[in-house]
Structure formats: structure tokens, C-alpha cells
Amino acid sequence: MKWIAGVDIGNSTTEVCIGVISEKGSLQFVSSNQTTTTGTKGTQENTIGVIGALEKALHSSRKRVEDLDVILLNEAAPVIGDTAMETITETIITESTMIGHNPSTPGGIGLGTGKIIFIEDLDSVMNQDPYIIVASKMYSYEVIADKVNKARNKINITGVILQADEGVLVYNRLERKLPIIDEVGYIEKIPRGVMASVEVAPPGQSIQTLSNPYGIASLFQLTPEETQRIVPIAKSLVGNRSAVVIKTPKGEVKEKKIDAGFLYIHGPNHSVEANVDDGAEKIMVKLEEVKEIKDIEGQQGTNVGNMLNKMKETLATLTEQRVEQIYIQDLLAVDTTVPVEIQGGIAGETCMEKAVGIAAMVKTHKLPMMRVAEKLQKMTGVHTKIAGVEAVMAVLGAITTPGTKLPIAILDLGGGSTDAALLNENGMVQSIHLAGAGQLVTLLISEELGLKDLYLAEAIKKYPLAKVESLFHIRMENGEIRFYDEPLHPKYYGRVVVMAEEMIPIEGDASMEKIFQIRRESKKKVFIRNAIRALKKIAPKQEVRTIPNVVLVGGSALDFEIPEMILQELSHYKIVSGRGNIRQQEGPRNAVATGLLMHYVGG
């Protein structure tokens, strides 16, 4: 009898598997365990995690690490990934044309157009022009209502703009009704005497005039050229319950493309360049043109240049190499939109700007796994050896999933990279590492929701959502209701929450359906694209259809919906795919560690 252990040190997770080999040489699996990888993959700090996991795995057999006969380490794939995000559009308001303001409780319904007049100047006018009154929060709602009521006997008032949140209060005190927009923070930025238009839609509906370029043109008698310029304003007001548009002489809203710079993709013989401003789709097409990527650089002095430099520096530090030795081997770009406060707005208006999320993958020099093995042997006294290439071991392990046959492919859905390997009937293995996996999904969720909180975004990725509908019940994302015996904390009230072990409230206005959609779209953007990219690269003649089954392994294969998304997609190619079930019991975990033991016995 011989006790052996397989150890898989991943970027995020270290997995181990224990087996015994009988006198006759047959292998029996005993137990397994996993822990968070300690230190950077390939460094000596890894040993702490390994020993911890081994101890836990051996516990049920009442063995100690020293009792092992041999420890088998994976020859780790020398890849490491990083993610970043770059906005490529920027909305700027020149002069104070308000756009997109959407206070929660405006007053009245309708459309009013007129000249801007501040409430303190009301006495100074005597003409018949239509006016829109602006009132600062220094005036109480009673005073404002009173002044407006009195003024209407003399002049023609068509709408009101308030600084305080008192639109309904003023409205309820008007003798004749007017549309009122409130919560306009920086009213001092509104120029006097210019034309403005105020629109409030009926409850549950959205404005119809100020969101139409010809609607604005009709109100302000714009020339065709002026109409052309206000298109971004109209666009940004689509779907709003209320809005103000102010006609300033040179006022304009510009949607500017940020000069994000070029990516240079170097192949063995030639290089290809991609303009980041053109978006992810174009970048990925360019990338496919280069069959064998040697390195990817960003244009120096541009946003993307700085971004890739920073990535390379991080990766150099992590892998203890010089920056010049760091070559980006693959890159995944995804299009996204992120909420950004508009420059020059007067009520904190935000705008959804276009952005590109990027994951890059670096092939470092062979990882110094030898040193890890030596250290481990020293610490435990157990013979430790590097016993198999990660990808090969993963397929070996994966084939213990019931219902699979050769040729078999795995997709290892990790944190930084999506790896794939194909084992054919002749025992040949083809493997590939691609940039982009779980971390990029988390980044996308965080940015698209404007959370700036990766911890919360990670929770949103992993758990279903619910809406807290009262202090004692929630509605889950599939529509089911759940009651609580004790009241929930007020901080949850009316909020969308993540149903992690503990409920986590999500701040902001995003509805459950919006968050739900962003979560699923982010997963699709990263993993569906990478699944297809990866399979194309390992399939004979790039023919994905020739692979009969694909087993999903790795941390992101634990996700409650990613495997099903991949199943839907790959079923178009007549491929069977699903979350792996290593040795019929491990789920998508422990493939490499299991493969190491199988290889040791078989090889």
C-alpha cells in the first residue's frame, strides 16, 4: 500500500486529492480538499496552503502529511492574467444646457416653454412673453407658490424650476397648474433671459417632446444645423419622466470620443493595429487575424498604452521578472457602458459612456515550480515531484465525469484565464490559455452598475437577487415570495438585495431586472466568447463540431448559470457540455489533482 497525493496550485485555489495504490497496483481515491492559494502561484509561499489542504484531506484517514509516500505537483501553466477598463466616450456640456435630469417627485404634468426668470426678478417684467420661473431653496414652498400665483395675474408663466425637493408641494398650492422640475442642484448656473423648456410626463410614462429632436426644434424654432447639435440632448432624455432643456447661445452637449489609443498586436512576421475607439468587436476581429501572438503593446502616451504598461508592471512584480520579459499572449476585449457624471451638468446628471473592458494574459518564463517542490519536500520530508502538465492532467481528471468519451475537451473556467485542452483517441493533448474569466465578469458588473465595489460585484455574480418588498417579505428573482418571521432591518427596505449567505443591499436606482440582465450579459460576454474562441483553437482544423463533449471545470464552472449558458451555446454545434463531475462526486473541482494520481499510476 502506497499513499499518494496530487496537488494543483492554481492562481486562486489550491486543490489536493489523496489516493492509495494497492499491492496489485490499482488506485483508489480516498479524499480531497481545497483552499485559497497562499501567495502568487509558483512562489514558495504556496507551500503553506498546500500543507493545510493536505492535512485537512488526510484528517478522515487519521493520517499526517509525513505519512504520505509521494506528493505529485502540477507543472503549472505559466500564465497569469489581469483586467482593466477604459471609457472611450465622454459627454461634456458646454454652457449650462441641462440634460437628463430626472427628479423622483416633480410636480404637475405637461410642457412649458419660456424665458428664464429668477423669482426675485418677477416684479421687473411687464411684457406678454412666456416665462419659466427659477427659485432657489432659500424660498419656502409656500412663498414660491404665493409669488407664482400672484405673478400669473400679470405675466405669462409656463413652468417652474426649483432647487429644493418641493415640486409637489408647490404644485399643490398653485391656483392654475404648471409643470415643475425640482432638485436642480446648481440653479446659479442657469443663465437669465434665455429660453428654456420644462416637460413632465404623466405618472408611469416618459416625456415625448424633449426627447425628440424635432420636438425641441419646434419649441425653440431651431435651424436644421442647431437641430443637428441637440440630438445628443434629445437622446439622453429618452425614457425620462421629466426634463428641462435650456437654450444657451453656444450651449451644446458633445459626445466626444476619448482618444484611447491603438493596440499593436505583434505576430511572428507582421503586426496588426486596432483602434480602441472602434470598440471591442473590432479589436477581437483584428486579434483573430494574428494566428500566433508574440506580444501586444498599447500606443505609448495614450490611455490604453498606460493601461497595458500598468498591467505588465503588475505582472512583472508578481512573477519576479523584468517588465521587458513580460509578453502579452492574449487579450479579451468586451464592450460595455458605464455610468459617468456629465461634465458641466447642473443637477448631477449622469450619462452612460461607452467603455472597453480588457483582460490580458501573460506567458511568463516557466514558473519556478521546482523551487516550490523542493521547499515542500524540505518541509514535509515527503518525496515531492513535478509530475504532469496542468492541461493534460485536467483532461485526465475530467474524463472521470460519467457520460464522456474521447475525444474530450475541457474548459477550465478560472479567475484570470479560460484554459482549454483536448485529448483525442491517440492520447494527444492540445491546449491553450486565453485571457478573460471570472475576474473580468466581476469587473464588468461592478463598472456597469457604477458600484466601484468588487466585493459586492463578486457577490452579485455568485448569488441570486431578490427585492425586499416589505419589512417581512422579499420577492426572489424567479418571482417566488419568501416570508420572514422577524422584521428585516430598514436598510433593506425597498432595495434589491443579493441573497448571499447574508443579504446584502445594493445601493442605487438599478432595478432587480436591470442588475439581473447585467449579471447575465457580463457572463455571456466573457465566457460564451471565450468558450468558442478556445474550442476553435484546440479543435482539429478549427472545426468546433468535431468535439463530441466538453467538460467544464474550475471555479467559474461552479457558477449557477454559466454552465447552462455554455450548454445552450454549444448545443448549436451538437456538443454535449456541462459542469464536470470529477470522479462522480467532486463537481467541477479537483480535475488536475485527480489527473495527477491517474497519471502516476497509469504512466
Binding site: E166, L169, N172, S470, L471, K491, Y493, G494
Partner: protein, 111 residues
């Protein structure tokens, strides 16, 4: 035998008029209805408890002098949803808003 209208119930005893007005303004701006009932001298927690249970919406406010709270039928008498400890007008406006936001089932406003 009439339909009861969905209103926030405000039970008051000797309320500071200005502050009560802030509360009702908060409710009004959010577009909700309220009714005020003048009570005998009672503990402010009792006032709140009764107000909540008298409201079809299960939402009650109590105002006694400078003290005010928002209570709903699911909370214990001594732990109302919100309790005000200052004389700041803004806080009373906020209490009214949040009572209405409770009824509208939207998240509470923070200070």
C-alpha cells in the same frame, strides 16, 4: 362600511406645530395621503403603535411636543422604524418623506 382610504395615520399630542408641518410636507411631496388625530396624553411609543395599527397601510407617525417617530405594524412598540432625537427641522421633513417612501415601497432616504 366605507372603503378605508390608504393613508398614513399621524397621532399627535401637543405637537410642535412647525415640526408637524415639516412632517406633513415630507409626506405630501412624496404624493401620499395622511390623516392627523389629536390624542390624549400618552407615551409617544403608544401613540406610534396605535397610529400604525389605525392605518390601513400599517404606517403611523407619532408627534408629542418635539418628539416624533415613524412606526409600522411589523415592529415592536419600543423599536419603531425611525425615532428622532433632535430639533432639526430637516429631520422631521425626512421622517415624513420616509413614512411615505415606506408606503410607496421604495428605499428610505438617508440623512
Amino acid at each position: 362600511m366605507e372603503y378605508r382610504k390608504p393613508m398614513i395615520h399621524i397621532a399627535v399630542y401637543n405637537p410642535e406645530k412647525e415640526l408637524l408641518e415639516e412632517i406633513t410636507a415630507g409626506i405630501e411631496e412624496e404624493g401620499c395621503l395622511y390623516e392627523i388625530a389629536y390624542n390624549e396624553d400618552k407615551d409617544v411609543f403608544d401613540l406610534g403603535w396605535n397610529a400604525a395599527h389605525n392605518s390601513l397601510l400599517g404606517a403611523g407617525i407619532a408627534v408629542k411636543g418635539y418628539h416624533a417617530l415613524f412606526q409600522c405594524v411589523h415592529m415592536k412598540k419600543n423599536t419603531p422604524v425611525f425615532l428622532i432625537n433632535t430639533k432639526e427641522k430637516k429631520e422631521f421633513r425626512l421622517l415624513g418623506s420616509n413614512a411615505a417612501r415606506y408606503v410607496k415601497k421604495i428605499p428610505f432616504k438617508a440623512r
